[in-house]
């Protein structure tokens, strides 16, 4: 376990080394949130609420969705793809750790860094500029915290899968890009899932995407209440469990492939 914690720490330090990244990050995230705030204000255009969310809740939703994204988002799919292409994975396999766990830990180190240095100060700045509705209820914060941890896990699992697929495709860039687009749209980052027409919502119910962004953001803004919160978190947990299966299968197949091709 110690080596994995070390992995988190190293990645954290690496992130810290990129100073320009840190300064520019908050500003650019704030601009992004600001732009969405105005877009949504224009969309509301004086309406009290749309699909049960007031304009202030909507702003809060957008702000928290982006700030949570800073935590769960990572590039390990690209990293894995690159390491496979450059033949480094074979070397990684002889090291005394589990490659996928190690990648996950690196992603976590990155996520914790961004949570502390982007999201928290960014959220403070954004809440000073825009009218947000931030709950004072510790239970809400607690559920939110649990929920974004699951978000991280689901998103990372999807990234691992996309990354491993590089073993079977000659060039995986297209798939990685497509995946990113799909996640932005169907995770609820750009639009709350409840805004979609009902038929679209029912299709999305069969996919894990909305459990990445929609669920934690709705919990934070108070869009979910009571048993809805519990149900949502249970569903997140369920998806984390389900997604383990295809990853394991793909990983076993990938290792076989590697033996044949020699990395």
């Amino acid at each position: 376990m110690g080596k994995y914690i070390e992995m988190i720490r190293i990645r954290f330090l690496m992130m810290l080394a990129y100073r320009t990244n840190y300064y520019s990050g908050i500003i650019i995230y704030s601009i992004n949130i600001a732009a969405y705030y105005f877009l949504w204000s224009a969309i509301y255009g004086g309406k009290e609420d749309i699909e049960g969310l007031s304009v202030i809740q909507m702003t809060t939703y957008i702000a928290v969705a982006w700030m949570a994204r800073a935590f769960y988002f990572n590039n390990i799919d690209r990293e894995i793809a690159l390491e496979i292409k450059e033949g480094k994975v074979a070397v990684e396999l002889i090291r005394p750790y589990h490659y996928l766990s190690m990648k996950t830990m690196q992603a976590l180190g990155e996520g914790i860094f961004r949570l502390l240095f982007f999201s928290v100060p960014g959220m403070v700045i954004v809440s000073l500029i825009f009218p947000l509705k931030i709950s004072a209820d510790p239970a809400t914060w607690g559920f939110f915290a649990i929920s974004i941890v699951f978000s991280f896990m689901i998103n990372t699992q999807i990234n691992l899968m996309t990354g491993i697929l590089t073993f079977f495709l000659f060039n995986n860039d297209g798939l990685i890009r497509a995946k990113r687009v799909v996640i932005d749209l169907f995770s609820g980052l750009l639009l709350p899932i409840s805004f979609y027409p009902l038929w679209a919502q029912s299709i999305m119910g069969y996919f894990p995407f909305q459990y990445i962004s929609y669920v934690p953001s709705m919990i934070f803004t108070g869009g979910f209440a009571g048993s809805e919160v519990w149900n949502a978190i249970m569903m997140q947990f369920l998806w984390v469990a389900i997604l383990f299966i295809p990853i394991q299968i793909l990983w076993v197949l990938a290792k076989k492939q590697m033996v044949i091709q020699g990395g």
Binding site: S24, N32, A34, F38, L39, G45, N171, G174, V181
Partner: protein, 261 residues
């Protein structure tokens, strides 16, 4: 100058390589289409809940988006330099570039060509024609000429901004989040800038003038007379920003530190 023939030579090579990896190309075009579809979906879903967006109708917004896709496609084809820092500075590929007798930026552009992005032009035209028909727009004789001029201006605005950002790498090779986030900010040019407050409107018009890629020129074809001045500024802004970025680049190259130091 023989730059044109060198360009053709590179295009030829590019086609040869790309045709060897046909599936890649198809996947790439498909993921581009998907990306464009996502934005359309966003617009459609939003207009499921409202009739007007700060005075603009659904079809007008879709028309602006269609226009935006075209200069963006031209930009993506030629200025695919989002990983310039990683590829050329950190890995030191610029060393090689600098030992060849062609302007360094031109070589980088040639090496990073991505011709399949040109499909975005077709998507954009389809979207524009669809929205234009719903709006009952007509085409005057001067429209195609202005259209080309505006597309060129918009592409140069994009190119100017991204080249300028790439030049940061000459001074500091640390990775920054600026590149990917700039793509995000660029997307705001797709919407009418009058929905934003004054500061953001100012930024999107004069500092990171993404408004000149989408709404400003498109508004001309939509017959919004109060936008005409901005529409005609499009080529001017494009050329100004592009020249500025080239100057920055030329200064930057003298600050290049080489890899491994």
């Amino acid at each position: 100058m023989s730059y044109v023939s060198i360009f053709m030579q590179y295009v030829g090579q590019y086609m040869k390589t790309r045709l060897t990896y046909r599936t890649d190309m198809i996947v790439e075009i498909f993921s581009d289409l998907l990306f464009q579809a996502v934005n359309l979906v966003f617009i459609l879903v939003v207009f499921g809940h409202t009739k007007l967006l700060s005075g603009w109708t659904k079809d007008e917004i879709i028309f602006i988006y269609g226009f935006f896709l075209i200069p963006f496609a031209v930009f993506s084809t030629f200025f695919n330099i989002w990983d310039f820092n990683e590829r050329y500075i950190v890995k030191g590929e610029l060393d090689r570039i600098l030992t060849r007798p062609i302007h360094s930026l031109f070589q980088v552009i040639l090496e990073r060509l991505e011709l399949e992005s040109m499909f975005g032009v077709i998507t954009g035209l389809v979207v524009m024609v669809y929205a234009g028909q719903n709006l009952g727009l007509t085409i005057e004789w001067y429209d195609p000429v202005l259209f080309l001029l505006f597309v060129l201006g918009g592409s140069l605005v994009y190119a100017g901004i991204f080249i300028s950002i790439a030049t940061i790498s000459f001074w500091s090779d640390s990775r920054t989040a600026i590149m990917p986030m700039m793509y995000n900010i660029g997307n705001f040019g797709r919407y009418p800038v009058n929905i934003y407050n004054q500061i953001i409107r100012f930024v999107l018009t004069w500092i990171l003038p993404f408004a000149f890629v989408g709404v400003c020129p498109a508004a001309f074809f939509l017959g919004k007379t109060d936008w005409y001045l901005y529409a005609f500024l499009t080529p001017v802004m494009g050329i100004a920003f592009f020249i500025f970025s080239i100057i920055l680049w030329n200064i930057g190259v003298t600050k290049y530190r080489g890899a491994g130091n």
